[in-house]
Amino acid sequence: MDLAYGPRYGAFRDEVRGFLESHRDRWPTGAGAPRTAVLAWQKLLIEHGYAARTIPRAYGGHGGEADILKSRIIAEEFIRARAPGPLAGQGISMLVPTLLEVGWEEQKRRWIAPTLAGEIVWCQGYSEPGAGSDLAALRTHAGQDGDDFVINGQKIWTSTAAQADMMFCLVRTEPHAPRHAGISYLIFSMKTPGIEVRPLKTMTGHAEFNEVFFTDVRVPVSQVVGARGAGWAVANATLKHERGMLGDPGAAEARLAAIVELMGEEAAGGERAIDNPVLRDRLMALQGRMLAMKFNGLRLLSAQLAGEPAGLAGLVVKLQGCELNHQLAAVAIDAMGEAGVLYGDPGARDGGVWQQRYMFDLGLIIGGGTAQIQKSIIAERGLGLPREPKPAQG
C-alpha cells in the first residue's frame, strides 16, 4: 500500500495548480459565460495538456503520453480550485474514442479536432421505443439509394439533440442479416432535411432528453464509421466509454458532505435532523457505503496502473454507485421533513436539487444499462453463471 503519488507527480500537481492560479482571469465561470470564452478556455487546456491529453496532435489533441495519475491529478486540481473543467459531452467522451479506435483516417481528421475544440456538439442515437435494454432490436431503417442511405425511424432518450450539430447513430442497413450483423454506425448533421427533434419531458419536470424522428433522411454511405454492418461492435466500443462515466464515487462523496451540512441546519419538530437517531443512522450507513465505493475506486485505479483487469470490482460500479447516489438524495429529502416537498418553490433548499436528483438518479439507475441488466452482466461475466436460454426465434 502506497497512497502517495510520488515526487515526480508532486511537481506535476504544482504545475497544474500554478496554471489554474495564473490563468484565473481566463476562467469562463457560470452558466452565462460567453461561448467564445468557453472555447478559448478549452483551446488553452488542450495546449497545456489538461484536455484531450493523449489524443494525437494531428487530430487536434495535445499528443501527450498516457499517464493515469497525471489525468487524475488534473481532475483533482480542477475540482479543488473549482475551476471550469475541460468540455465534456457525448462527442468528446464517446464519439472521439470510437473514431480513434475504428474510424477511417479521413473521418478522424475531419471530425475529431472540431469536436475537441467544442465547435461541434454531438448527440447519440441509440435507444428506440422498441429497443431499450435489448438495443440490438433497433428498427430505424437505412436503405441504400445510390450513394446515400435513406433513414426512416425514431430514436429516444437523446440528450442534447436540440443543441447538437451532429448525431452518431445506429441504424439497420441489412434488414435480412442476423440482427447483430445488420446494424451500421452512421454520423450525420442534425440539420439534414427530414430530422425532427421533440423534447422529452421527464418526471423531473424538465426535458433532459429528446425524441428524434427521421423521415427520408439522406446521408452519404461514406459516413459509416467502421465497416458497414459492423455497427454493433462499434457501438460496444462506445458503451464501454459510457459505463465508465456513470456511478463515479466522487459525486457521492461530495453529496454526502453536503448532506452532513444540510442535516446540521435543517430542523423539524424542534430537532435538528442530525440529532434524530434514525436519520443519523441512515447517514452513517450511507457513509460506510460511500467509503467502500471510494476505496473500490482506488483499487480500480491501482489495477489500471498495473495493467491488471478490473474484474468484479469494475463490474459493480454502475449498479452500486447509481443506487448510492439515489439513496443519498432520499435521505436529504427525508432530513428536510415537510420542507423536503418544495420543488420549483423559491423556498426550496439548494434550488430543489435534492428532489431533482432523487428523480433524475432513478433515471440513471435505468439508463446506460438498467440495474437488472447490470446484475445479469455481473452474474454472467463476473461469476460465470449461465446465460438465460434464448427463446426460439419467431
Binding site: 500500500m1 442530525i274 476505496f295
Partner: protein, 360 residues
C-alpha cells in the same frame, strides 16, 4: 501510487489458503463443533508452523513484525474456512495490547510465547468498548467483577482485561479468584466466555496511554471482525454460485434463471467493494492514525450488514438443502452472526462513527 496487495501479501494469502484447505476442511470443522477438541489444537499447531500467531509481534520477540493489513488478510482466510482458532485474541489483540502498553518485562515474558503459538490469550474488553462501563474494577493490583463475551476464552493462559476506567490489566489463568465459564453461542467455531474475578491479582499494562491502547484494541478488533466477514461472505457466495451452476430444476440450471442469478449478482455487488474498505481501514490502522477509528467503525458496521445479507441470500440460493445441517453453509451463517454482534452491532458502531465526527 499503489492500492493493492503486495506480492508478499498475495504469497501469504496463497500459503494460508493452502494450509487451511489441508488443516481445516469442513468435516474437521464439523468434528470440532461436535466435540472433538483436538481439531483446534491441530489447526493452531499447523498455523503456528507458518508463523501466524506471531504475525503482529515484533521480530525482536520472535514474531514476523507485520501490520494489521496482513493480519486482516489472515482473518479473511480464517473466516473463509470457518477455522476454529484463537487468532483474534491470541495472535492479534493480546500482542497489540502487550506491545502498546506492556512493560519490557511483560513483553519479554509473553510476546515470544504468544508468537510461537505456545501460549493462548483471551481478551475481556466488551463492556469497555460498548461504553457500558466495564464490570471490572481495579484497585491495588487486584481485580474484582465480571466480564462477559470474553474473546477466545477456552484454554487461555492469560487474560487481557479492561477495567471500568479504561485501564488494561494482565491476569493469568489459575490466579486466585479467577474463574471462566464457557458461553454457548450460535458460532461454535469460536470460544466466548464469562470471566469472574474476585480479588484476583493482576499486573497493570501501564505503559503508554491506557485509554489510547484500548481504542487501538477496539479498532483492530473491528477491522479483523470485518475481515473475517469478508472471508466468510466470499465463501458463501462461492458455494451459492457453484450450486447454481449444477442444480437443475424445470430442465434448466437454476443459475440461468434471472431470479437466482440476480441474487448471486447482488451478493457479489455488495461484497466486492468491501474488500477495498477493509484494506483501507487496516492500512489506516497501520499508517494513517487520524482516520483509523472512523474507518474501523465503518468496516465493522458495513460488513455486518453486507454479510447478513449474503448469509441469508446464499441459503436461499441453495433452497431446501441450504437449510440443512448436512450442507454446512450454516457454519458460515453463524460465523458472521457472531462477528456482527461482537463488540457492538452495526447500529451502535455507526453511533460511535457519528460521535467520532462530532455528529452525535
Amino acid at each position: 501510487m499503489e492500492f493493492a496487495l503486495s506480492p508478499d501479501q498475495r504469497l501469504m494469502q496463497a500459503s494460508l489458503e493452502g494450509a487451511l484447505t489441508r488443516l481445516c476442511p469442513l468435516e474437521r470443522v464439523r468434528g470440532f463443533v461436535d466435540g472433538d477438541a483436538a481439531v483446534a489444537g491441530d489447526v493452531w499447531r499447523g498455523l503456528s508452523e507458518l508463523g501466524l500467531p506471531g504475525l503482529l509481534v515484533g521480530e525482536a520477540h520472535g514474531g514476523l513484525g507485520l501490520g494489521l493489513l496482513d493480519a486482516a488478510l489472515a482473518a479473511e482466510a480464517l473466516g473463509r474456512h470457518v477455522a476454529p482458532t484463537p487468532f483474534l485474541a491470541s495472535a492479534a489483540l493480546a500482542p497489540l495490547a502487550i506491545a502498546a502498553a506492556g512493560s519490557p518485562a511483560q513483553q519479554a515474558a509473553w510476546l515470544p510465547r504468544l508468537a510461537a503459538g505456545e501460549a493462548l490469550a483471551a481478551v475481556a474488553i466488551g463492556e469497555a468498548v460498548a461504553g457500558e462501563g466495564a464490570g471490572v474494577t481495579a484497585q491495588g493490583g487486584r481485580l474484582d467483577g465480571a466480564s462477559r463475551f470474553v474473546i477466545d476464552a477456552a484454554g487461555a493462559e492469560i487474560f487481557i482485561v479492561a477495567d471500568s476506567a479504561g485501564g488494561l490489566h494482565l491476569a493469568t489463568a489459575g490466579a486466585p479468584g479467577l474463574t471462566v465459564t464457557a458461553l454457548v453461542t450460535i458460532d461454535r467455531t469460536r470460544s466466548l466466555g464469562e470471566l469472574r474475578l474476585d480479588d484476583t491479582p493482576a499486573e497493570p499494562l501501564a505503559g503508554g496511554d491506557a485509554g489510547a491502547a484500548l481504542t487501538r484494541l477496539r479498532d483492530a478488533a473491528w477491522i479483523l471482525l470485518a475481515a473475517d466477514m469478508v472471508g466468510a461472505s466470499g465463501a458463501m457466495i462461492d458455494m451459492a454460485v457453484v450450486y447454481a451452476k449444477q442444480r437443475r430444476q424445470f430442465g434448466r440450471l437454476i443459475g440461468s434463471f434471472q431470479a437466482v442469478k440476480h441474487m448471486c449478482a447482488e451478493m457479489a455487488a455488495e461484497l466486492e467493494p468491501c474488500r477495498a474498505l477493509v484494506w483501507y481501514a487496516a492500512h489506516a490502522f497501520d499508517a494513517l492514525p487520524a482516520e483509523a477509528s472512523l474507518m474501523a467503525a465503518h468496516a465493522k458496521a458495513h460488513l455486518s450488514e453486507v454479510s447478513r445479507f449474503v448469509a441469508r441470500t446464499a441459503v436461499e440460493v441453495h433452497g431446501g438443502v441450504g437449510f440443512t445441517d448436512l450442507l454446512g453453509l450454516h457454519y458460515w451463517f453463524k460465523r458472521v452472526g457472531l462477528d456482527r454482534q461482537l463488540l457492538g452491532g452495526p447500529e451502535r458502531v455507526r453511533q460511535a462513527a457519528a460521535a467520532m465526527q462530532g455528529l452525535a
